[in-house]
Amino acid sequence: MKLFSLLGLLEQNLHMAPTKRVEILAELQTHVDDRIQELQSNGISSVDAQERAVLEVGDPAQLAGAYYNAHETGSWRDVGMATVPHLALAAIFAFHLWTDLLWVVVAISAATFIAGVAWRKGAPQWAFPWLGYALAAPMLSWSLAMVAIAYGGWMLLTGGDIPLGAPLYLGIVLYIPLSMLLVIRIVRKAVRHDWLMVSLAALPLPFFATWMFMLHWRQGTLAPNKARALEYDADTAVVFLALAITTAM
């Protein structure tokens, strides 16, 4: 096997961030180059030296597995950081805090800030649940925005006034495609980084969507039927608690 084939096979099996992958491959290449040089200085031909040096590295898939275990095994701190957002959501539902806009804004801002900081520091695995919640906010807001657009459109057609006024209505219309573009860009970057973790980060989305659907169905979102809207909070809190336990395991 040639050196480039070995590095290619190793690269295929290294399921981690591209920056880490590049660094691992560069380091291993310098190691094999040093070994080839040493063998050649001992009188071995260039072809034989390369073949032997590559053979000594061993099975690329096994080596990739060893690298993966070294990099991706989480510490207790990582486990804690990964479970905090799920626990926070469980608390928000358990204590009915979502009905207070201030708490919602604080939670979304915290998730976005922590996900951003973690991303800049190399995107450790614990950052992905935070990223999931940070992206859940715009995704869920689209459904509300679409309800508002449809309602406004209906009012226009039936000759009534646009609710919330024309500038705000136009802002909502523009908000959907612009925020979608931003979310798609972030998701594409994250998928390139670690697609498996992105799929795990997206886990809360179906629960959120179901919760919103139930809320709307029970007339909790737009109608002032607060008592009925709170009926699902205990169940939803349990779901996020379960997500925290699953993540920790």
């Binding site: 660094e23 691992i24 560069a26 380091e27 291993l28 310098t30 190691h31 180059d33 040093d34 070994r35 000594e56 590295v57 061993g58 096994q62 080596l63 060893a66 690298y67 275990n69 070294a70 990099h71 510490s75």
Partner: protein, 109 residues
Amino acid sequence: MYQKELLKGNTETLLLALLVQEPMYGYQIVKEIEQRSSGYFLFREGTLYPALHRLEKAGLINGAWAPSPSRQQRRYYSVSERGLRELRRKRAEWRDFTQAVNLVMQPSR
């Protein structure tokens, strides 16, 4: 097999003990360990680099690219403050262990 298990359990201690003396890169570590142990320890890439990366992730060593004496870029590893503390702890642990093993193994009078 026994020798392999012994090395597996002590790879990280050996690396810390070596790197505490001076920063080194992977290939240099392999050669240094081989030389110091008179050929007893032969580190392979599959053992060495994952162990170095594990130590780095744990904050016990720091890795950085720097030019080697031959002016080629190499990833040098050096022991961090936390690594120093860990090495002290591991050395004490090893001393106690070998003492106990020697006491058991020496022929009874």
